[in-house]
Chain length 346, copies 2
C-alpha cells in the first residue's frame, strides 16, 4: 500500500466532472425513459437495490413520495428470489439501481417484475450489464470505471441520474442542478479540513449518523462509508427513529454525525439536536451553517441549495472523512478487508 486511498481520493475528486458529463450527455436517454414513464402513468413506484445503491434508491423514494405524490416502496429482493413471489405489478414502475448491474438477485427481481406487468428501468454504470438488459428502459450514470471498492462517484451520479429522470417525468430540465458541480469542487478543495477532522475520530470505535427526510439517505451512506473503510461500527437512524430507543446508547464516548439540510428535513432535526445537546453528546454537523457553528465540529455547506438536491453535496464531506479516517487509522480504503467490488447475492 504505497499510496493508501489513492483510488478513492481520485474518484471523490472526479465527481464534479462526472456530474457535468451526466448533465450534458444524458439528456436524450433520460428524455426517452421519462416520456415512456409519463405515458405509462405509474400508480406505484418500487425500487430494488443493495448497499450504496440502496441509499440512492431511498433518496429517489423521497422524491417520488414528495414531488410526484406517488406511494413508493423499497423491495426486499428475497421476496421475488428466495420466496418466489409473483406480485401483481400492473401500473407499477420498478427501478433497479446498481453500479455494476451484475448482482443476480437484482437481475432476477427486475425480470420477475417485468413478467408481472411492471414497467422496468435499470440505473447502472454499465449499459451492457445483465441488469440493463433485463429492464425495458435503462439509464447510464456515465460515472466512468469505478475502481475503488468504496463507491463514491457512482453514488452521487446515481443520485443525479435519478433526480434528472424524475424531474424529466414532470417536464423539468434539471436546471436546479446547474450550479452543483462548482459547489462540489469547493468542498473537495477543502480537503485539508477533513484530514484534520479525521484526527478527532482516530480512536472512536463506534458512532451514530443521523438525518431526516432528504438527508436520511446521506446519514445511511455516511455510516456505510465509515464502516467499509475504517471498520468502526457506524449506525444510521432517522432523527425520529433515534428518539425511539437508540438514544439510550449515546453518551459522550459515542460521537454523532448529523446532516442538517437547509430545508424542512433540517428543521425537523432541531429537536433531535437539542436532545443530543442535553445528553452532552459530541456532534459533528454537516450542512446548515448555524447548526455547524453550534456543534462540536463539522462542515458548513452553501446555504442556497434546494433541499431536494442537497444530498449530492452533503455526502462529499463524509466521503472525505471516511478516506482520511481510514488512512489515519493505518488502513488502505482501497483494499478494505473482506470486500470485493461486485457483490453477488442470490
Amino acid at each position: 500500500m504505497a499510496n493508501p486511498g489513492a483510488l478513492m481520493a481520485a474518484e471523490i475528486a472526479e465527481q464534479p466532472e462526472a456530474w457535468r458529463r451526466l448533465l450534458t450527455e444524458s439528456r436524450e436517454q433520460i428524455q426517452v425513459a421519462a416520456l415512456r414513464i409519463a405515458d405509462y402513468q405509474p400508480r406505484f413506484v418500487l425500487f430494488v437495490a443493495r448497499g450504496t445503491s440502496d441509499h440512492a434508491a431511498l433518496y429517489a423514494k423521497y422524491l417520488t413520495e414528495i414531488v410526484h405524490q406517488l406511494p413508493a416502496g423499497l423491495v426486499s429482493p428475497s421476496t421475488m428470489t428466495t420466496y418466489g413471489a409473483r406480485p401483481d405489478l400492473r401500473q407499477t414502475l420498478m427501478i433497479g439501481v446498481s453500479q455494476s448491474g451484475g448482482s443476480p438477485d437484482l437481475i432476477q427481481s427486475l425480470q420477475v417484475a417485468r413478467d408481472c406487468g411492471a414497467l422496468t428501468l435499470a440505473v447502472t454504470n454499465q449499459p451492457s450489464s445483465p441488469l440493463a438488459e433485463a429492464a425495458e428502459l435503462d439509464v447510464d450514470i456515465l460515472a466512468g470505471e469505478e475502481r475503488a471498492v468504496a463507491a463514491t462517484k457512482s453514488y452521487t451520479t446515481q443520485l443525479l441520474a435519478l433526480y434528472l429522470l424524475l424531474d424529466a417525468v414532470r417536464g423539468g430540465d434539471g436546471s436546479a442542478m446547474a450550479g452543483l458541480p462548482d459547489q462540489a469542487s469547493k468542498i473537495i478543495d477543502d480537503n485539508d479540513h477533513f484530514v484534520r477532522l479525521a484526527e478527532r475520530y482516530r480512536f472512536a470505535s463506534r458512532l451514530v449518523s443521523t438525518g431526516r427526510g432528504y438527508s436520511y439517505p446521506t446519514a445511511r451512506e455516511a455510516a456505510l462509508k465509515l464502516m467499509e473503510t475504517s471498520y468502526l461500527s457506524a449506525q444510521a437512524f432517522s432523527g425520529a427513529d433515534l428518539l425511539h430507543g437508540p438514544l439510550a446508547m449515546i453518551d459522550r464516548q459515542v460521537p454523532v454525525l448529523a446532516t442538517i439540510n437547509g430545508g424542512s428535513g433540517g428543521e425537523a432535526m432541531r429537536p433531535v439536536l437539542s436532545r443530543l445537546r442535553d445528553l452532552g453528546a459530541d456532534v459533528c454537523c454537516v450542512g446548515a451553517a448555524d447548526a455547524v457553528k453550534a456543534a462540536s465540529a463539522g462542515y458548513a455547506l452553501p446555504g442556497e441549495i434546494a433541499e431536494e438536491v442537497s444530498p449530492l453535496l452533503e455526502i462529499i464531506p463524509f466521503q472525505l472523512l471516511s478516506l482520511h479516517l481510514a488512512i489515519a487509522r493505518g488502513s488502505d480504503p482501497d483494499a478494505p478487508r473482506g470486500l470485493a467490488k461486485v457483490t453477488e447475492t442470490l
Copy 2:
C-alpha cells in the same frame, strides 16, 4: 433499582398468555377488518410505524409481498408530515402500527392517507387512542398494559395480530398459530440458559445482528433491544446487505447474532454463515438446530415451525439475552437512560 429488569422479565413471561388471549378474543374484530379489506381489494399496501413497531410492520410487509403477492412499502412519515405530501392512495391499504397509538406523526400520516383515498387501519394496544380513532379500521393487540420501556409483549402481539389479519383476508383461521404459545413457554422456561449466554457478551461494546427474509425483522428487533437495554452498538443487516460492505467491520472482537429459520430465509443465510466462518467471526445462532450446533453459541428452536410464523418465537431468546445482559452489565433495563415509554415525534 431494587429488582432490575423485573418489569421486562414479567412482560416477556406474559407473552404466551397474551398470545392465547389474542387468538381467542380477537376473532371478531379481525374478521370485521379482514372482510372490509377483502371487499376493498387493495392493489398496494403501505405501513407506517417507528421503533419496535416498525419491525412488526416489516414482518407484515414480507407477508404481504410473499403470501398476498401485493407490492408493499414502508412509508417515511416525514413525507406526509414535514413535507406535506398528499399522494394518490386510491386502492391502497395503509396500516399504522403503534403500541401507544399516540405518536403525532403516525396519527397525521393515517389522517392524510384517509383523505387521499386509502383504506386505513390501526394496529395498537390502545383501542381508544388517537391513532385508532384516525383510522377507519382498528385491531387491538390485547397485550395488556406494557410498563417496561423496552417493548416485548407488544411486539409479538403485533406480529400475531398482523399475521391473523392478513391470514383472515385470505380466508384463513390462524390455525398455524395454535401451538405457538406452548412453544414460547418452553423458551421462557429456559431462562437460565440466557443468564449464562449473557455472560459471554458482558464486555462486548458492539455487535452485528443478521437474518434474511422473514427473519430479517427479528435481526432488526434483536439489535434494537440490545441497544435500548445494554447500551452497546448493535447493528442489523439483512444477510445479503451484510456482504455489500459492512462485512469489513467484522472481526473476532465483533460478535454476530444470526437468526437462521428453518425455511427459505434460513437457507439463504447459509452462504453468509460460511463467509463469517472464513473470517473467524464469533457467531451466536438462534433457530435451526444444525446451524446452532455449528456456531460458537446459540439457542435451537423447535424444527417444525412454519417459517412465516417463526418470527414470534425467534425474538424471545433475544429478549431474554437483552434482559440478562443489561443486568449483568449493572444497568436496569426497566429504566434505560434517555428514553420514555411513549415517544412523540412530529
